[in-house]
Structures are given as structure tokens and as C-alpha cells.
């Protein structure tokens, strides 16, 4: 069985601050991490590998430094890594990104299951997984928090509004993973990281995967950012300060006035 896990390097968004003067993001010094949803998807793939002996290939698209997340994945137990890196990919929205990743999957060739995080925390779109599935012409099951496979079918627990469904899918299938609430990513030991140094990471360009250049980068991206701006400042409401007792008295007065306490 062959599993491909699509992973992305993202800025640790919990550490991105906004410049109070300009209202823009301060990205300098913000560490990059493996997108947590992808991290979870990878661990699930490795669990299936442990059970079935599946081969796990990790695939990422990004600048040269994104090789770091592939190294991490290999240290955690993935077998091979592929980095798609080319200026031709710059400016890609989710359409062009999923086209590029799907084209790379075709070059990898053998696959029974593709696992993705449900979304990247720097974009929050959740569109790339389904896009890859479309371009490969395979079914998808999204927002799953568990996945298992016997090599014939995949069985997943998929979240739905107000509950969940157990679903089964014929292979090949693409599955996007959400995380359980108490998920804490695993990291490799120093020894494991050291041993993984010899595992192979291929770097492919747009030409290497035979991608149609009209479907990459800006040209392959229907969406355009026309403006970015800090959120509109609104008129401040009534500000209250004083001792805790005074404020509590004011608080209850407000709750009564607004009819939340009778």
C-alpha cells in the first residue's frame, strides 16, 4: 500500500504580531512549523504504515526552506520526501496549488491513499485537499479525525454538524484530517532525526512534473487580493473603570438595563 501525505510549512500564527502603528503583520522572527493538521495526518499515515507496512511519501510545495518540514516528516518515519519548488508556483491560490500538487502526485505514480490536513493555519481555506482529489479524479472524505485501512478500503470517522459519521471509501481516496481536541504533535528523538538524514528528498520544478504553466502561479489562480487593510476601528462604547465593587454595581445595572437580568 502507498500513502502520500501532503504537508505545508507555515508560520506559527500564534506568534505573529501586528505592528500597532501600521496595522501590518510583523513576520520577522516568527518560527516556521509543520502545519498541525498535516502533522496529525502524517501520524495517522504512519500508524497505518506500522500496521500494514505501507510506504509513506510526504509531498510539500514551497520555497527551498520548506525542506525542513519534509526532514521532520522523514525523521518521524516517512519513507521519502518530495519538495515542489519553483518561482513558477509563486502567487498560486488554492486552485493552482491543488493542480500543482495533484500533478506531482501523478509523477510519484503509485498511491492508494492521500492524506492532507483539513487546512493550513495560515490560510484556513480547507480547499486544497478537495482540489487535489478533483484533479486526480478520485473521491474525497473531508474533516476526519480518524482513519484506518486494510489496503482495500478506508474507514474514517468524519465530523458533521452536530455529530459524526463512520464512512467507508474505496481506494484510491483522498482524506483530509482534523485534529482531536487534545492532540499534541509528536516530535522525533535526536537519534531518529540523525538516522533519517540518509532518506531521500527529491526537489522538483514545474518542468519536472510536466505542469501546464498556464495553470500555475498567478495565471492559474482565479482569485486576486485587491486590498489588505487593518480592521476598521469603530467608535468605542462606554468605558467603565473604578474599584471592583463600583464596577460590579455598574455591571449589574447594565445587565438589568439590557434586560438580561430582571
Amino acid at each position: 500500500m502507498n500513502i502520500i501525505v501532503c504537508i505545508k510549512q507555515v508560520p506559527d500564527s500564534t506568534q505573529v504580531k501586528v505592528d500597532p502603528k501600521t496595522g501590518t503583520l510583523i513576520r520577522a522572527g516568527v518560527p516556521s512549523i509543520l502545519n498541525p493538521y498535516d502533522h496529525y495526518a502524517l501520524e495517522k499515515a504512519l500508524a497505518i504504515k506500522a500496521k500494514t507496512g505501507a510506504k509513506v511519501t510526504v509531498l510539500s510545495m514551497g520555497p527551498a526552506q520548506a525542506v525542513a518540514v519534509l526532514r521532520l516528516a522523514l525523521a518521524l518515519g516517512a519513507d521519502e520526501g518530495v519538495l515542489l519548488s519553483d518561482r513558477a508556483f509563486a502567487g498560486s491560490d488554492t486552485w493552482a496549488t491543488s493542480y500543482a500538487l495533484a500533478t506531482a502526485v501523478k509523477k510519484i505514480g503509485q498511491f492508494d491513499m492521500i492524506l492532507c490536513g483539513q487546512m493550513a493555519i495560515d490560510g484556513d481555506t480547507a480547499q486544497t485537499g478537495p482540489g487535489i482529489a478533483y484533479h486526480l479524479g478520485i473521491p474525497q472524505v473531508t474533516f476526519c479525525d480518524s482513519v484506518d485501512s486494510d489496503g482495500q478500503r478506508a474507514v474514517v470517522k468524519k465530523l458533521i454538524e452536530g455529530g459524526h459519521q463512520i464512512m467507508e471509501a474505496d481506494l484510491p481516496v483522498l482524506i483530509t484530517m482534523t485534529m482531536p481536541v487534545d492532540y499534541a504533535p509528536k516530535y522525533p528523538s535526536f537519534m531518529a532525526a540523525h538516522k533519517a538524514q540518509d532518506k531521500q528528498i527529491s526537489t522538483w520544478t514545474a518542468a519536472d512534473i510536466g505542469a501546464d504553466l498556464h495553470k500555475l502561479g498567478l495565471e492559474g489562480s482565479p482569485t486576486r487580493v485587491s486590498r489588505i487593510f487593518p480592521p476598521a476601528a469603530r467608535a468605542k462604547g462606554e468605558m467603565i473603570s473604578g474599584s471592583a465593587e463600583e464596577m460590579a454595581a455598574k455591571f449589574i445595572e447594565i445587565l438589568k438595563k439590557e434586560s438580561f437580568v430582571k
Partner: protein, 398 residues
């Protein structure tokens, strides 16, 4: 990367706008480095129009055949009954505004079993037309079946705009459609408007600390997803009936590749449902620990409210992820919202700003949360909350 014209005056406005720090001034001219993602954010701030994205060689397409605003109506199933998920009415209400601005028609698209029973209510929220695909085969949502039906309808009727709910179903379905049609899809929009005939889609971007306007000038339909509780639902046509167009569309064989084995619904009391609660109390990092959250729970008990948390508090493990309020969590539109110890990052604000009465408690008088509050208490929430609980108890005894 971004192209800088010779008319650049070196004012530096683009440098501070770039979300990626990719622009700098060299010899009083803007220069982009390899960090440029060609997002285009700098283009609109340049006062002399010196910045541009490399133009793609595509010829201008004639888009005039695309008309009308559609809302995909999701049918909710709680294991007992099926009904329209309320976000569908919210999409129709916003869609009505957009359609009026464009001078075009608004249509509801509903796929399911026995969907006739929804027609009157869908009409009351302003739909001129209803496209209905009704068959027992569509009772349960299936990606391949629904995507095929939507794509068939879109290709036949050429809408200019299609709105989807940002629910598990909407987020599964819409990217499948945008991929096949080669059109844009903007996720989780917090604002939609029309400018120069184009849909302007506003959403938090780059990790949620800043807003972006996104448009799709050269592709139709323009498609967006919107979370529940972002737009208000407004009955605009209480007694009218939309024109119904019934379409019979066969389910493709591919639908059989994914099967539902079993369905499970959580037993959640209404008080715990953040997205439907009338009173929501949210805690942030300022509550510090479990004891701080216990104070908030006490007040929630007194007010009959549901308790949520900011991402900062979730990251500290003070509440489970499903209680997160904000862009990457639940969006709420409650009658009363109390934000305790929350500073007010953009990604939190967009998840609660549509609440009616917002009360903020924060030690820092300059915390951004106060910009959306009707009442702002400059206080340590851990000091104030117990006193408020006491006061509410006393008031209720009277």
C-alpha cells in the same frame, strides 16, 4: 515577483503594507525580494500606480452571459428530521442585497429529498427563483452526487455569483466545484459587496490578523463560502412565492465509492451550543487558569449562557478546541456577549462582532476588544467576575 515601474517615487507605502516583508527601498525605489508571493496587497496602496503584478497572457473573456446570484441551501439532518440549515436564509438575505445592487435575480438552489416543503420559507427570504433537485437519492449529502448536480446547474444557467455555507458540507462541496469549473472560491468571507459589477469578498487573511478584499475579475461564477451567523437573516418577501425550476439530475456512479456506515449525533443541551446561544461568555488568556475559567462558568450559570474561549486560551489548554470562538473556530451572533480577559485579535473579533450587546473586561484600556464593545470594563477579569456573580445572585433574589 511584483513589478516596480520607473515612476516609483520611493514613498515607502508599499514597504509597510507588504504582509511578507518582501519590499524594501533601495536608492529610493521599491525593490521586491524572493519572499514576494505576488499576493498583490501592495498594488492598491501605491499612490503613483508604479506597482503591478505580471500580467498573464490570457485574452479577455466575455463574461456578460453570467447573471444572477445563487445561494446553495443546505439541508440539516439531526437524525430525527431534516430542515433548512438557518445559514441558508442568511445567504439568501445577503444575496438579496447583492442581487439588488446588480439588478439581477436571486436564486436558492436546494438539493435533497422532498424539498418542496422548503419553498415557501426560501421565497420569504427573497429568492426570485428556486432551482430544485429532489429525489430520495439525494437524501444524504454525498460529495460526488451533489457536486455533479451543482456543476450541471451552473453550466446550464450561468450564475454570476454562488454563495455556499461554510459548514462541513459547504466546505467539502464548494472546492470540488471550483476546481472543476476553474473559478475562484474565497473561504469564510466576513463581508460581501459589489463594486464595479464585481463581487468584493472580504476575509481575514495571513493568519487572521489583517483583512483582505479578494475578487475574481476574469472568472465566473464568483464563489464564496460564509460561516453561519456572519450575516443577518431578513424576511424581505413574507407572502411571495419564487418561481420553481425542477431539475432531474442522475446520480453519477462515482457517488457509490464513498458510503455512510453509520451516523451519530451528539447529545448537546441548547445551553452548550455556542452558535445558537443567546448569551455567550468567552474567556481569554487574561483568565490565566482553570480557576479563572471557573469564575466565568459561575457567571454563565447565573445568566444561562454558553462558555467559549479565545484561541489564546485554547492554546493554553483551558478549553477544548470546539469551544474556540473566532475565524478558525465557531462564529457566534448572540444577544449578549461577554469577553473576559480577551485582548481582541482580529481573528477573534470576526467571530463575535455581530453580537448585539458586547461587554468587554480587560486590564488594558487600549485593548482592541474595546473597539467593538458597547460597554468596556477596565479591570482584571479575575477580580471583577466573582463580584459580578455575587451582584447577579443578589439581584435575582429580590
Amino acid at each position: 515577483m511584483i513589478q516596480v515601474g520607473s515612476n516609483c517615487v520611493g514613498c515607502g507605502k508599499c514597504v509597510s503594507t507588504c504582509p511578507f516583508g518582501a519590499l524594501s527601498l533601495v536608492n529610493r525605489k521599491a525593490v521586491a525580494n524572493a519572499s514576494c508571493t505576488m499576493c498583490g496587497a501592495c498594488v492598491s496602496v501605491c499612490p503613483v500606480k508604479a506597482l503591478s503584478l505580471p500580467t498573464a497572457g490570457s485574452e479577455k473573456k466575455d463574461l456578460s452571459a453570467y447573471k444572477g446570484v445563487w445561494a446553495f441551501i443546505e439541508i440539516a439532518d439531526d437524525g430525527k428530521e431534516q430542515k433548512v440549515r438557518p445559514v441558508g436564509f442568511e445567504l439568501l438575505s445577503k444575496g438579496r442585497e447583492l442581487a439588488d445592487q446588480l439588478g439581477e435575480e436571486l436564486a436558492a438552489v436546494v438539493i435533497g429529498e422532498g424539498v418542496e416543503k422548503y419553498f415557501a420559507e426560501l421565497s420569504s427570504y427573497g429568492a426570485d427563483k428556486i432551482y430544485a433537485v429532489s429525489s430520495p437519492a439525494y437524501r444524504d449529502y454525498n460529495t460526488a452526487a451533489y457536486a455533479n448536480a451543482m456543476i450541471s446547474l451552473i453550466k446550464k444557467y450561468n450564475p454570476s455569483i454562488v454563495l455556499y455555507p461554510s459548514t462541513y458540507i459547504g466546505r467539502d462541496l464548494s472546492p470540488r466545484i471550483s476546481s472543476e469549473l476553474f473559478v475562484g472560491l474565497t473561504a469564510d468571507c466576513t463581508g460581501l459587496s459589489i463594486a464595479d459589477g464585481l463581487l468584493i469578498q472580504t476575509r481575514p487573511a495571513f493568519g487572521g490578523n489583517i483583512m483582505a478584499d479578494i475578487k475574481c475579475p476574469d472568472y465566473r461564477p464568483q464563489m464564496s463560502t460564509v460561516r453561519p451567523n456572519v450575516f443577518k437573516k431578513v424576511v424581505t418577501r413574507p407572502n411571495s412565492m419564487a418561481q420553481v425550476i425542477n431539475e432531474s439530475i442522475a446520480v453519477p456512479a462515482a457517488a457509490g465509492k464513498v458510503r455512510i456506515v453509520s451516523k451519530h449525533f451528539d447529545e448537546v443541551s441548547n445551553q452548550e451550543k455556542l452558535d445558537e446561544a443567546e448569551v455567550v461568555l468567552a474567556g481569554g488568556r487574561g483568565l490565566k487558569d482553570a480557576a479563572g475559567f471557573a469564575m466565568l462558568e459561575d457567571l454563565a450559570q447565573e445568566l444561562g449562557g454558553a462558555v467559549g474561549a479565545s484561541r489564546a486560551a485554547i492554546d493554553l489548554g483551558l478549553k477544548p478546541k470546539e469551544k474556540q470562538i473566532g475565524q478558525s473556530g465557531v462564529t457566534v451572533a448572540s444577544k449578549l456577549y461577554i469577553a473576559a480577559g480577551i485582548s481582541g485579535a482580529v481573528q477573534h473579533i470576526v467571530g463575535m462582532e455581530h453580537s448585539d450587546v458586547i461587554i468587554g473586561i480587560n486590564k488594558d484600556a487600549n485593548a482592541p476588544i474595546f473597539n467593538v464593545c458597547k460597554y468596556g470594563f477596565v479591570a482584571d477579569a479575575r477580580q471583577l467576575l466573582p463580584k459580578v456573580v455575587e451582584a447577579v445572585k443578589k439581584a435575582k433574589q429580590k
